[in-house]
Amino acid sequence: MSKRVAIIASNGGLFDAYKVFNIATAAAATDQEVAIFFTFEGLNLIHKEAYQQLPMPEGKEHYAEGFQKANIPAIPELVEMAQDMGVKFIGCQMTMDALGLEKADLLDGIEVGGAVTFLDFAKDADVTLTF
């Protein structure tokens, strides 16, 4: 039986994106079933334009060099890998409505759903994480 990992992504910075997608890809590579629920600022992480230019936390811009030096993959690269390995992305309908976002603004291949869509997946999860 494969394990199930349920992740809530509710913040929209670059560091948040790495936390979410690193764990998600690592879990998927370990044959675990992964779903991420993107809500509030977390929607940035799957927004077609925004996810290519996610901001570093204020005052931490100097870390950019370290990321390059350590050859950390870019977020779009991690996202592609995650989707390749079957990680399920769920955009939060309520947040999208509130922020005036359409499904077309978000990455292809995502689902849109409400809290219950995520909870239905999460009720059988072995690991639940919030970022």
């Binding site: 690592a26 590579a29 890998m81």
Partner: protein, 191 residues
């Protein structure tokens, strides 16, 4: 340092977490059960990660060699072999073999695991003869000798014992379960 044979070499050098794992997973999909992969990485976290990954996916982690900056991880793809039925009729358990090794100087012990598995850990007296090479190498053996065959879980050695018997070896004994539970003396890579 002796060379370890792998079926596939994966270059994950210069990549940061979680890329070595993701690449390993992808490469593993293209391997046949029982084959060995060498994963070359420079990410220092990869040793712990690869080990944990193998544990949760059921593949066999053989070991890691440091070669300067490069970490070479060796993994063997699992085949679910633990559940297969055994057929060769003459069998001893690990403890019986251990006793035998103490009293009998002339014992012939064949280790039919992959050479990478052998390199990391084997019984000092054991001769490495991977199952895949057995047919070509068995000429080196004497058909009337008492030959003990060992692998990791008793499955490959079972096949080897059957093959040897089929080829006219008269005194072949399979050791179960084998190296996975071996508590006797061994020779390791770094000894």
């Amino acid at each position: 340092m002796e060379d370890i044979k792998a079926n596939v070499v994966l270059d994950a050098k210069g990549l940061a977490c979680p890329m070595p794992i993701v690449k390993t997973k992808k490469a593993m999909n293209n391997l046949d059960a029982g084959q060995v992969i060498e994963v070359q990485a420079t990410d220092k976290g990869s040793t712990a990660d690869i080990k944990a990954w193998a544990e949760s996916t059921g593949h066999q982690y053989l070991g890691t060699i440091e070669d300067g900056e490069v970490l070479k991880h060796y993994l063997r793809k699992s085949s679910g072999e633990e559940h297969e039925e055994k057929k060769h009729s003459r069998v001893v358990n690990n403890a019986e073999l251990e006793e035998k090794l103490k009293v009998d100087e002339n014992i012939v012990l064949l280790d039919v695991r992959e050479s990478a598995e052998y390199a990391f850990n084997h019984i000092p007296k054991a001769i490495s003869m991977p199952l895949g090479d057995l047919e070509d190498s068995m000429d080196q053996l004497n058909k009337d000798d008492e030959i003990y065959v060992i692998c990791r879980t008793g499955n490959r050695s079972d096949l080897a014992a059957q093959k040897l018997t089929e080829k006219g070896f008269t005194n072949v004994i399979n050791v179960v379960p084998g190296m996975s539970k071996w508590s006797g003396e061994t020779k390791k890579m770094n000894d």
